[in-house]
């Protein structure tokens, strides 16, 4: 268990940004990893809702699909796809760190660019499959 509230009002990590903490590409990616993680937790409800709608029959499913194919549903799905692909790619980057590879700042910056590029490519590929195949 943790201790009671701290005696002084030292700034804690999320509030260090801007004022005390220099912008870094790698820390931005780290923040995005957490944000997409939380977003995907919410997005899982979307997957569950899709399966439940499917089990509830054609009328409910058609209603659900109507929202998914509307512009806001497509924007949501596109965001979900990218968040998933980013979290997946950056998760693999984390797994390499776990075995001790890629900690060098120059390497960590480069793998960061690779992860962003891969997430965009995979998202584009998935949507190309959805629209053109």
């Amino acid at each position: 268990m943790t201790t009671k509230t701290p005696v002084d009002n030292r700034p804690l990590s999320p509030f260090m940004l801007g004022q005390y903490y220099r912008f870094q590409w790698t820390s931005l990616l780290s923040i995005i990893h957490r944000v997409t993680g939380v977003g995907l937790s919410v997005g899982t409800l979307l997957v569950a809702a899709w399966l439940i709608a499917l089990a509830m029959g054609p009328v409910v499913y058609a209603d659900f699909a109507k929202h998914l194919t509307a512009w806001y549903g497509q924007v949501l799905l596109f965001g979900w796809t990218w968040a998933l692909m980013y979290h997946l790619g950056n998760g693999i980057r984390h797994l390499f760190w776990d075995i001790g590879w890629g900690f060098d700042i120059k390497v960590a910056e480069k793998t960061g660019y690779a992860v962003v590029a891969a997430s965009l490519l995979l998202t584009a590929a998935a949507w190309a499959v959805a629209y053109f195949l």
Binding site: S41, A48, L51, H94
Partner: protein
């Protein structure tokens, strides 16, 4: 010199008495999710434009139903582990922290049960 007792060092469980369990299962579920996620995203993308019957037909194949159950359960487990850490990091009020930690576990369990029920309902 370490102040840790030899027994404590041998157990390697740390002050939370949980050791590296959370870290380890987060990694195991992450690795399982790599193929499952890619399979799910590209399969569903391939289904896009398909109507109710096409999607039902897809889900009712045993290999698809089993993979869907594995995907949704692993994802929810990984999600529960992640959300737990986020709450521990940012919720500092002890009572609120305890409530939200329990609440998120219950919520994940409910979504898991409902999703598996839905998949089986369609597939069986």
């Amino acid at each position: 010199m370490s102040l840790r007792s030899p027994l404590s060092r041998a157990r390697g469980l740390g002050s939370a008495k949980d050791g590296v369990h959370h870290f380890w299962v987060q990694r195991v579920s992450a690795i399982a999710l790599i193929p499952l996620t890619l399979w799910f995203v590209f399969s569903v993308a391939n289904l896009a434009g398909g109507d109710y019957h096409a999607v039902r037909h897809w889900v009712s194949a045993p290999s698809v139903a089993i993979s869907l159950v594995l995907f949704i359960l692993t994802m929810l487990y990984h999600s529960a582990l992640g959300v737990q850490v986020v709450i521990e990091d940012y919720v500092h009020h002890e009572g609120l922290k305890l409530l939200s930690l329990m609440g998120q576990k219950f919520l994940h369990a409910i979504v898991a049960a409902a999703s598996v029920y839905a998949i089986l309902r369609v597939a069986l």
